[in-house]
């Protein structure tokens, strides 16, 4: 059973402090949506408002056809997995999972069936008689998910559930969550500040910043066509390079962008007439900058730090005007600090950001 979630003009204020400002969002049944943003952007608050753990100051939230923002948490038909798992420490795994069902007087037989199904799905059937303190972090996490599954909710809410796991376990659990979503087909909302989790799990990512939604889109759209400078800088590792623009002159289908460090670049931009080069910034990802073979002329880059990641090498350096830039070289690159490299940019991958932070993309977007 999965349902749509409709968030309409939701605002959250604590006294005079505004935490979320006029948020609207539609989530389709069965969709896996990730709220991504830095700490303090309001993503967890929004999730907790859907769960009923925070009041809505203004606006409405509906699950399916039913408005839920006025209902108590238990009556909303949603289940939540907490960052700390929030397992009841004095209850066994089975009791933890059946507690919610006992509270709504589900028949004993049905409780046993659902607990067994969830335990088998999550491969924790052998742990049912153990108490949480006897479980590892990963096992606790599964129990917390199991506690949500048995409720057969209309939507699952995950509040940074992987952040307490070590790197290896986090990767594996991420994969299992994706499989679980495929198997259950439920609507899932997942809050994280980890862009890898967002990129790998989400059907759609909601990037949040400073009380507002910056962009809603598929992971690739968010990565390839960030709507704002914040999204461009927040999503992607290493972060996108930003280079101040001196002047832009538009000609025919393209634009000639003049920068201090990169010189003048011609790219296929269709900028709005009102676009001003005043305060504008050019953005380009490291992977769209290539290091040229020795002897080939390009844009000079003085190397400061080299990070060898095996399959690729990240070269951190400075342009002739001192602007910092990160380029991606081949895994076999022999570049080292203080080297002078020649680089070239893929001008079709350039983004331009106006002084207001709004993005324009080289392919005419």
């Amino acid at each position: 059973m999965s349902a749509s979630i409709e968030i309409a003009n939701v605002t959250k204020r604590y006294g005079t402090l505004s935490v979320l400002d006029d948020i609207s969002l539609s989530i389709k049944p069965g969709e896996f949506v990730v709220f991504l943003g830095p700490s303090g952007c309001g993503k967890s608050t929004l999730l907790r408002m859907i769960a009923g753990l925070e009041d809505v100051t203004q606006g409405t939230i509906a699950v399916g056809d039913q408005r839920i923002d006025t209902l108590p948490p238990g009556k909303r038909g949603v289940a939540m997995v907490f960052q700390s798992y929030a397992l009841y420490p004095h209850m066994t795994v089975a009791q933890n999972m059946s507690f919610g069902l006992e509270n709504i007087k589900v028949p004993k037989k049905e409780i046993v069936r659902r607990v067994r199904f969830a335990a088998e799905t999550l491969e924790i059937a052998h742990l049912l008689d153990r108490k949480p303190q006897k479980l590892s972090g990963g096992q606790r996490q599964r129990v917390a998910i199991g506690r949500a599954i048995v409720k057969e909710p209309k939507a699952f809410l995950f509040d940074e559930p992987l952040s307490n796991l070590d790197a290896a376990l986090r990767g594996r659990t991420r994969l299992e969550l994706a499989q679980l979503h495929t198997r259950l087909g439920s609507t899932m909302i997942f809050v994280t500040h980890d862009q890898v989790e967002a990129m790998t799990l989400a059907d759609r990512i909601v990037v949040m910043h400073n009380r507002k939604i910056e962009q809603i889109g598929t992971p690739i759209a968010i990565y390839r066509r960030p709507a704002t400078r914040f999204v461009a800088g927040f999503v992607g590792s290493p972060a996108m390079n930003f280079i101040p623009v001196r002047n832009i002159s538009q000609n025919g289908n393209g634009a000639s962008i003049d920068t201090a460090g990169l010189g003048t670049l011609d790219a296929a931009f269709r900028l709005p007439a009102a676009f001003s080069s005043e305060g504008a910034t050019l953005g380009i990802r490291a992977e769209d900058i290539s290091v040229l073979p020795a002897g080939q002329p390009g844009i000079p880059l003085i190397v400061e730090v080299v990070e060898r990641l095996g399959d690729r090498t990240l070269v951190y350096g400075r342009l002739s005007d001192g602007t910092r830039l990160t380029a991606e070289a081949d895994g076999r690159s022999e570049a080292s600090a203080s080297d002078r490299l020649e680089i070239a940019l893929d001008t079709s991958a350039i983004h331009l950001f106006g002084a207001d932070g709004v993005a324009h993309h080289a392919d005419g977007g």
Binding site: L53, P73, S84, A86, Y88, P89
Partner: protein, 291 residues
Amino acid sequence: MAESYRRSHWGHGLFVLPYLTVFAALLVFPLFWSVWLSLHKVDLFGSGRFVGLTNYARVLADPVFLQALRNTVVFVALSVPTLVALGLFCALALNRTTRATSFLRGLFFSSSVLSVATVTLIWRFVFIPGDGLIPMIFGQLGLQPINFLSTAGWSLLSIGVATVWWCLGLPMMLFLAALQQIPADLYEAAALDNASRWRMLTRITLPSIARTVMLVTIIQIVMQFQLFGQAQLMTNGGPSGTSRPLVMYIYEVGFVRWDVGKGAAASELLFLIILCAAMVQYIVSNRKAEG
């Protein structure tokens, strides 16, 4: 480093020496001395001959001791559950951070800092026939006034009421400290699990503070078995010894009649009773927690 650590190992003991000296002088030595006294015939004129368990036999055969023992057990059975339940109730009610709850916490704890003389004086004003608060209320309601402090049955109960009022602060504070250790997200998970307030109390709060409940109960058992000042000052053990507690019996035997050996034997018996009561409570609670 490791070698110097090992060499200085015994020197570390010096840090606890001041405490150990006081502990040994004021607790361990009197305990053994009292055992020694209880096995001898001792009176005002000094220590006498070894009499074996005669003092214990005399104490156990003394109807006044048996009456005091019964009074004390009844008092503990009434006051300890009341203190635990009321302390928990107050802590639950005041487990939030508003100005009102901070004020009330302070107010409820304030009685604990009063001396026993002040407490008994206040409660004498409440119970005293004629002008006391309760007789006045009875009068207003048109009821026949009861002389609480000099009526058998009521006198011990009156001491219990004063004791609960006096001692409530500590259990409340211990429960509050325990309640604040319970992670808030357990209650959030329970809210999402459709748990009623009663289910949250019985399935989350109480199991989470079970150890503190045990601690408070044992502390109160130990404290209330040692009832003395309130009984001495409010009823002087009367009427007819119906509110005389064990410590008062020990005091009268040892320091009024100067039968020090018998008094010491009675105090050893009280020590054993307290030890047993605390152990029983500990074992029962542990079994429940494991079960």
